[in-house]
Amino acid sequence: MNGRIDRSIDLGPYVAAPDDGMIICRCEEVTKGEIRRAVHDGMFTITEIRRYLRTGMGLCQGQTCARLVKQIVAKELDVSPDVLEDAVARAPFRPVPMRVLANEAEGRTR
């Protein structure tokens, strides 16, 4: 689906909006303005936005903001949100403390 986004499109200049300061990704405290600006910086996919801004990389792993980020990016690109592929789902699906992972490596609790 990513292929459908035309990398050469002219988004026009970034125009500041009154609600740019609104937080979208609560876990990583990323604002709407930052996401919009990232699109103008060339981040056209959810994965790119995620790596660039860390949206959806915090405690809730995008459970709250994934849809919101998609809507903002889609609007900025002037495409339907359905065109944008979701970020890749990978383990761990829920936050796992490092010490728990370390326990496994040392075989302490198995």
Partner: protein
């Protein structure tokens, strides 16, 4: 590494049902759930379910949850709580975090029943403490016994928004308004009507402009939206609230199926009629495979569990087919009616019977007096006590039919049909139909022209209960006070399951309008 024949992820209605069906067939089955309590949303659902007997209609969600847990135990299903499935790997291997360790499990089959999470919408102030999901409000009230706030505004009029608004009222909160950007109320009319008659206003074609407050919610401004969803200047209204609830839809929690490599159909895994995904041995059931009611999730779970058992050789083909056929018929009937998936997005103007739908119910949450005459089950001016059934939309539900031992109420085989009053039968005024109606849409009326009074019996699910002799004000369908009223009877009983039938005496002229009671 421990091996199970079936691993179910999620101990909600779908997951438990799948596990039960598989274990019954003989599979060694385990259910993992990240929560401390099993049941998923069922234990938060204190309302009576819709459907017919086979769908556990008129039984409250938490009681259905108890039954499922008992059944799971009897069948030998192992339910492991505080167990977070953190990853899925090649060959149906799962890593599960339990306490301080990660354990590895292998499932011959896996049923993913991870459910859904609440959607959010953004507006200035949406991150203030006090802006919460409707599901969160439900969790606070019904699982933890905590009142989410004192004055609440609800955004969203789907069934979640309507049902949770009613529960907020039951918990003693004031619900100042129900708001929806859509032109029409999204959920069942009966759910809207039971909220409206307590006096809660509906604002359709409205959205939240901003939530006010520095470190918590102090107020909210809503505004009317035009055809392009833009707020019309000058249409703003501000409410003094401490809580804003969002009931704006659910999104499937599909990370596990996605990560397992299941083919996706948009935001849900592509599944066949048995819930099987594109990855052999992995099934999906319940909200994760498409948002529906818990009643449907339970049936989808049963089918997926049976399919896994059949695959593993625990069920004969004929047994499997008969199980699936029965469940598919049951699922099919739940999906009928004007709220069913086939009708999504369609504009409907008449019922299946050809009766013009009440626009007032769809926009204000209550039937207008001009609508009443169109519906034959909304009777008036009869001799003796008689039922008035304000059920005007085709929804899959029929407990009222069985509740009346006199056979006054007829629905027939098609459970979405509107109830019809049987003219041959005589109402004894027992009130069982009133208590049986999950939508609280049945009333009993007895007109006494010689005394110039009328007795109106209505369903009541608030505490404290009114007492015989209490005087107060009768409210009409919109919640507006209309006349003095005196409570003449309060009936409760085990079979009524906490839907109390309260009777009030009102002046005769108000027999067809008085529908609720408020103490002075």
């Amino acid at each position: 590494m421990e091996r199970y024949e079936l691993i179910v992820v999620g101990a909600g209605p779908a997951g438990l049902s799948a596990a039960i069906e598989a274990a019954k067939a003989g599979m060694k089955t385990v259910v993992f759930d990240e929560n401390a309590k099993p049941g998923g949303q069922l234990f938060k659902q204190i309302h009576k379910f819709f459907g017919s007997k086979e769908h556990k209609a008129k039984i409250r969600g938490y009681n259905i949850g108890e039954t499922l847990l008992r059944e799971a135990e009897t069948c030998g299903v192992e339910v492991v709580l505080n167990a977070t499935v953190a990853g899925v790997y090649e060959g149906r291997e799962l890593t599960v975090m339990q306490g301080d360790s990660i354990k590895h499990f292998k499932g011959d089959s896996i049923v993913v029943a991870t459910g859904a999470s609440e959607n959010m919408v953004t507006f200035p102030g949406w991150t203030l403490p006090g802006v919460i999901g409707a599901g969160a409000a439900q969790t606070m009230m019904n699982l933890h016994g905590i009142k989410p706030g004192s004055r609440v505004l609800m955004l969203g009029t789907g069934n979640v928004g309507l049902v949770v608004s009613y529960q907020l009222l039951q918990a003693g909160c004031e619900v100042v308004a129900l708001v929806d950007a859509s032109k029409k109320i999204g959920g069942y009319g009966v759910h809207a009507a039971k909220v409206a008659r307590t006096g809660v206003p509906f604002y359709l074609s409205h959205t939240i402009v901003a939530v006010h407050g520095e470190d918590c919610v102090k107020g909210v401004t809503i505004g009317e939206v035009d055809a392009a969803w833009q707020v019309i200047p000058g249409s703003e209204k501000t409410f003094d609230v401490d809580t804003v609830c969002l009931a704006v839809g659910l999104s499937p929690m599909a990370q596990l199926v996605k990560s397992a490599g299941c083919e996706m159909n948009g935001i849900v895994p592509a599944v066949d009629a048995y819930g099987a995904t594109s990855v052999p041995g992995i099934y999906a059931a319940g909200d994760v495979s498409g948002i529906e009611e818990a009643s449907s999730a339970m049936i989808e779970g049963r089918i997926a569990g049976a399919a896994a058992a059949y695959q593993a050789g625990y069920l004969e083909k004929s047994d499997f087919e008969s199980i699936v056929t029965a469940h598919e018929a049951s699922l099919g009937s739940l999906r009928e009616g004007m709220f069913g998936p086939k009708q999504r997005g369609r504009v409907q103007t008449v019922t299946e019977e050809g009766i013009v739908l009440s626009q007032s119910l769809l926009t204000k949450g209550y039937l207008d007096e001009s609508d009443l005459a169109h519906f034959p089950s909304i009777q008036h001016g009869k001799t003796g006590v008689y039922p008035v059934i304000e059920c005007t939309q085709n929804i899959p539900c029929n407990p009222c039919q069985d509740a009346c031992v006199k056979g006054c109420i007829l629905i027939g085989n098609d459970i979405t049909s509107l109830p019809v009053i049987n003219a041959e039968a005589t109402c004894t005024g027992c009130g069982m139909c009133v208590a049986s109606c999950s939508g609280q849409a049945i009333f009993l009326v007895e007109e006494k022209p010689l005394e110039s009074t009328a007795y109106v019996s209505f369903p009541y699910e608030f505490l404290p209960l009114p007492e015989k002799g209490d005087r107060g004000i009768a409210l009409d369908r919109s919640g507006a006070p209309i006349c003095d009223a005196e409570i003449t009877a309060v009936r409760t009983g085990k079979a009524m399951d906490q839907t109390h039938v309260v009777t009030m005496k009102v002046p005769l002229d108000y027999a067809s309008t008085a529908r609720f009671f408020r103490r002075r």
